[in-house]
């Protein structure tokens, strides 16, 4: 499971071991790793299922998606996202959502291409270090087949604060 390879990419968050273990313990099926024929780690996706079914908020969440620099532009991220959506479908989720830095235009565009739209903006979601201002996040969503009317992705008119999201 956990590969001991080194993730030294400056844009990718490297989480603490407890963080990974927590996900592996709770949602092992949501942890998918892609390996190249030479044995190199190409990328991974990590997510979870959460929310209330009664309020039609049961959904899949993308916690981390990372593709190694040399395996970019191959459509790997799309493939991994597709797998996560498939798992969420099976779990009967209404939608899949994810948070992305407003500044990360490349990622925002990629998610749009994959069918995601901005549901709301979360103000100062990413806390910054070294004195720079905190950054806003887009909460992007894509409706799954269970949400036939696509109610879950109707954009909210106003941005929200991090403490207001569940």
């Amino acid at each position: 499971f956990l590969s001991l390879n080194s993730n030294l990419d400056p844009l990718t968050e490297t989480y603490g071991i407890p963080f990974y273990l927590q996900y592996l313990a709770h949602w092992p099926e949501y942890f998918i790793v892609a390996e190249a024929p030479g044995g190199e780690l190409m990328g991974y996706i990590m997510g979870k299922a959460e929310g209330s079914v009664a309020r039609e908020e049961w959904h899949g969440h993308v916690t981390a998606l990372s593709v190694a620099p040399e395996f970019r532009r191959l459509g790997l991220a799309a493939k991994l996202m597709e797998m996560l959506e498939e798992i969420s479908e099976r779990k009967g989720g209404f939608f899949v959502d994810l948070f992305v830095r407003v500044s990360n235009q490349v990622a925002v565009n990629m998610y749009k291409q994959l069918g995601y739209s901005v549901y709301r903006t979360v103000i100062e979601y990413y806390s910054a270090s070294n004195g720079e201002p905190d950054e806003d996040a887009y909460d992007m969503r894509k409706a799954l087949s269970r949400d036939t009317e696509k109610k879950s992705i109707i954009p909210l008119p106003h941005p929200v604060r991090p403490e207001d999201i569940e």
Binding site: S6, P10, I17, L21, A25, P28, E70, F71, K79
Partner: protein, 952 residues
């Protein structure tokens, strides 16, 4: 903090402020508040525990423990106290006490689901699988919920996994677990997917593959829905274990049709095909192949399958997948391995690879993909291959300098890929010095040209052309190692510094710089580089070795200690963190992950690097602190080093080093092999053994100092001393053995250690004979002398210039620094031995003096040994003074060395700007050497002072 929510309880209301203080880190106020509360409500036990938590967090461990025990002995059954004690014990690293706590609670409240479940988790934290099994069953009896039952089953599986005796696992634990699950199956009580997974795990471990297969294919298998392709993957695994090649083949075929990019199934497809051919398998009469469908039995069919997959990709409008094209090369490789001529059917590898390059050459992974199959090309085709690829790279018109550059990033990536491939083919290595120099010029030109493609100026973004820069650095290193031309190294460092200035986040630049600075013995810049890599968590284990290996031996003691701490902090938190998630895995039924988590924890605990930093850190502390701030004995005690006990798992040592973290495009014959890794591990282990034995010898020396002098002691004390001396003897003989092993690997390092060994072995003399025979005395005196001689020799090996200018070029001798550090370490050891000797001799002298006074017997001459000792200390004084002078002289020499005076020849490949970067690197090395010398000098002075005070 836990246990809130029952707001109704008045006690909760009373305790709330204390919780809040603790949560906010205001421990003092928490303690005060608890005291206040306890005055009014003496029996509010939880307040006591919370107070104890406050004390624990303010460093009053002992008081905290005593207070907690007061409550614990009352065997509390209120939630608040139990939870608070659990938190406290966890912070004290005493998880075993939590089990006691809940054992008592369960005894008093035998029907509490909650306490039983806490008890189970408490056992899980300490890994007591047997007790877990019982606790799980007890829970199930109170509350018949499936998860509890299966906790118990899983605990049986864990007993099997951890059993020393595999037979016990196979005949007792696993069959019992199987029967427990079967019972539930029969009663149709299986509910969750996790339970089916656990059943599969048990059958698999029992080797009951047929049963496992039937289960997965049957109704129970329908529950396996969370994971993608979970049933298929499990079936495949069983087919392979059962060698059911028809099924394996047919399933791979099916899955590849579904996803022609899933590499693992090409491998199983080819594997199974060849197995089938070897056993001349053919479908039954009825034409039925197998349950999984169509089976491929001939090479021709497989060739067609792969060719069809490629044709499908060719037809697609969207982005083609790499899988089918790589599968084609893989099949050629396999067919050639078997000596099967049919590989021709698939085409010429050269053409196929050129095609692949045409399709994927602009992707950064092209090199990684093709590299695996370069061996399919005969050497005489190598140049042709490169030329063919070059034709496919769109480059602009040649400029003044004769270079043709790419017009966009896709063309750049293609051109870069050709460079990478020609390096991987060995074409770059085959060039002569001149060829390599012009290659460097070309790579640098491409690097500088490519800088224009960067769109944003984000610091985190890398330059598209960074890899050219890295490759040029590699060629510089080739030249340096081939010709020993240190100038190449300086230029290389300059180039990397330049690269870093344009791409401040490029980890590869940093890693290579880090490695080169270490090789140069300059540890100062390394610390900054490593911290800017922002290595986290597990990376301290996988790449931390890059620097901790050099940390101590280069004389940067403070920095070394800091680096070791980084790594140690990670290792220590691992143990605690993992346990919590093992418990979570039980809660969520992620049974498959539990053995994995445990294996992961073990892997880190048995890490070679962990053992190394642990040992080096302690040695470092002793060398820099012991007998300066604390006595040797106190230092050893504070560290908890035990001379008798081995704390390194020699037999199960895990090598977690990521040796491929640095990018390399070297041809296969220069690549790192398993043999290299093995040799390196052997070398590291032997050295670690030497160091850890040295540490334990020092520990036993320290504890000897504690014992009463053996000569004048009562007979009753003899025993204690004898055991200690035998420990010492034992460790010494182990050290001798290790040194013999080491000598086979590397003679040079071993020589240095011998000096230290002599000093330590010397201590044994004091025990070898109870009487003070003159023979022994002269023996001791001889050793005194020989130690001085050895130190003198060691010092003479330190002589020379660490850094000097010769013929306007900069020359380094980093090994001198290392030798000097080792000399200093040895001085420390000698001084500790001397101090011990003084302790032994002091009573001897005073008793002699008493005798003299009483009897006025002038005949009793001063024993030889006492004079010897005095001569010895003054001899030592002499050597240390010389060493100090040497260090001072080196410092002075370095300070006066004006690098600015160094005219870097600009014509010689480097522009003025590049010279600037090279000078930056040189300055860093110079200042690092200076720093090392200063730290060495300081420590040496401190040791010299303690030598002066050494009198008998």
């Amino acid at each position: 903090m836990a246990a809130r929510g029952h707001v109704q309880d008045p006690n909760d209301r009373r305790l709330r402020p204390i919780y809040d203080y603790l949560d906010n880190g205001n421990n003092k106020m928490a303690i005060q508040q608890a005291d206040k509360l306890l005055k009014k409500h003496k029996d509010l036990h939880c307040a006591k525990v919370l107070k104890a938590i406050g004390m624990q967090r303010t460093g009053k461990q002992d008081e905290a423990f005593n207070l907690a025990q007061e409550v614990a002995t009352l065997e509390p059954t209120d939630d608040n106290s139990l939870q608070a004690l659990t938190i406290l014990y966890r912070e004290m690293h005493r998880p075993e006490l939590v089990t006691k706590l809940y054992e008592a609670a369960v005894r008093k409240v035998p029907l509490s689901e909650e306490y039983h479940s806490h008890l189970f988790m408490a056992y899980a934290r300490v890994g007591d699988y047997k007790k877990m099994q019982q606790a799980g069953m007890a829970l199930y009896k109170i509350v018949p919920k499936n998860p509890y039952y299966f906790w118990s089953v899983m605990s049986l599986v864990m007993q099997a996994i951890s059993a020393q005796d595999e037979k016990l696992a196979q005949t007792m634990f696993l069959p019992l677990a199987e029967r427990m699950v079967e019972k539930m199956v029969k009663e149709e009580k299986i509910e969750a997917e996790a339970e089916v997974q656990l059943y599969f795990m048990i059958l698999e471990r029992l080797g009951k593959c047929v049963e496992a297969l039937n289960m997965v294919r049957g109704p129970l298998g329908e529950k396996l829905t969370s994971e993608l392709q979970s049933r298929e993957n499990k079936c495949m695994m069983m087919y392979q274990r059962l060698q059911l090649w028809p099924e394996c083949n047919a399933l791979s075929y099916k899955l590849l049709l579904k996803n022609p990019d899933d590499w693992q199934f090409y491998l199983s497809y080819f594997d199974s095909l060849f197995h089938l051919m070897d056993m001349s398998w053919s479908p039954s009469e009825e034409g039925q192949h197998c349950v999984e469908g169509h089976v491929t039995t001939t090479v021709a069919e497989a060739v067609k399958f792969v060719v069809d997959r490629m044709a499908e990709e060719d037809k697609k409008d969207s982005r083609p997948l790499r899988g089918p094209y790589m599968a084609c090369l893989e099949l050629i490789h396999r067919l050639r391995q078997r000596g099967c001529p049919d590989d021709k059917e698939l085409g010429d590898p050269l053409e196929l690879m050129v095609q692949f390059f045409g399709k994927f050459g602009d992707k950064p992974c092209c090199i990684t993909d093709l590299k695996i199959y370069l061996h399919l090309l005969p050497p005489e085709q190598h140049t042709q291959f490169r030329n063919r690829l070059e034709e496919l790279v769109p480059l602009g018109e040649a400029g003044e300098d004769g270079f043709r550059f790419p017009g966009d990033t896709k063309a750049l990536q293609r051109h870069l890929c050709v460079c990478q491939l020609s390096r991987a083919l060995g074409l770059q290595h085959a060039l002569d010095t001149e060829g390599k120099l012009s290659l460097i010029a070309q790579l640098k030109a491409h690097y500088h040209h490519g800088l224009r493609f960067r769109k944003s100026c984000l610091k985190t973004e890398l330059q598209f052309s960074d890899m050219y820069c890295l490759m040029a650095a590699h060629v510089y290193i080739d030249l340096w190692t081939e010709n020993g031309d240190e100038n190449m190294l300086w230029q290389c460092l300059g180039l990397l510094e330049e690269g870093l200035s344009f791409s401040p986040s490029n980890a590869q630049f940093k890693l290579l710089l880090l490695l080169l600075f270490c090789r140069l013995g300059a540890f100062q810049p390394v610390v900054d580089l490593y911290s800017s890599l922002d290595a986290k968590h597990v990376q301290h284990d996988t790449i931390g070795y890059l620097l901790t290996r050099y940390a101590g031996s280069l004389g940067q003691f403070a920095a070394a200690s800091q680096s070791c701490n980084f790594s140690l902090r990670f290792f220590h938190s691992n143990q605690k963190d993992t346990s919590e998630y093992i418990i979570q895995a039980y809660k969520y039924g992620a049974f498959e992950k539990i053995p994995e988590f445990i294996a992961f924890r073990t892997r880190l605990n048995q890490s070679l690097h962990f053992a190394q930093v642990r040992t080096e850190r302690m040695l470092l502390d002793l060398y820099t602190e012991a007998d300066i701030t604390l006595s040797l004995e106190e230092s050893v005690k504070a560290m908890g080093v035990c001379a008798e006990e081995e704390d390194i798992p020699w037999d199960n040592m895990r090598d977690n080093r990521d040796l491929t973290v640095l990018v390399s495009w070297d041809p296969k014959d220069r690549e790192l092999t398993e043999e290299h890794r093995r040799l390196s591990l052997e070398e590291e282990s032997v050295w670690l053994k030497v160091r850890s034995l040295t540490l334990r010898l020092l520990a036993s020396l320290a504890l000897l100092g504690h014992a009463p002098s053996p000569r004048n002691s009562d007979k009753t004390n003899e025993n204690g001393v004898t055991t200690k001396s035998s420990t010492l003897q034992n460790l010494l003989s182990q050290l001798d053995q290790t040194l013999q092993t080491a000598a086979r690997i590397t003679e040079k390092q071993t020589k240095k250690v011998r000096g230290q060994r002599t000093c330590l072995s010397f201590v044994v003399f004091w025990f070898s004979s109870p009487d003070d025979s003159s023979e022994l005395q002269s023996q001791i005196c001889n050793t005194f002398k020989s130690i001085v001689v050895q130190l003198q020799e060691m010092l003479s090996r330190c002589k020379g210039e660490v850094l000097e200018m010769k013929d306007r070029r900069l020359k380094t001798q980093p090994s001198l620094l290392e030798t000097l550090v080792f000399f200093l370490e040895t001085v420390c050891v000698v001084l500790w031995v001397a101090s011990y000797s003084a302790n032994v001799l002091r009573p001897l002298k005073s008793s002699l003096q008493k005798k003299k006074k009483k009897k006025k017997d002038t005949c009793t001459a001063m024993p030889v040994v006492l004079c010897g000792f005095q001569e010895w200390t003054s001899g030592l004084q002499g050597v240390v003074t010389q060493a100090l002078d040497h260090v001072k002289a080196q410092e002075a020499q370095l300070t006066t060395l004006k690098l600015a005076a160094l005219t870097l020849e600009e014509g010689d490949q480097q522009t003025q700007e590049e010279c600037g970067f090279t000078r930056v690197a040189m300055d860093k090395v110079q200042s690092s050497y200076l720093g090392s010398l200063q730290e060495l000098g300081d420590l040496l002075r401190k040791r010299a002072d303690s030598l002066k005070s050494l009198k008998i």
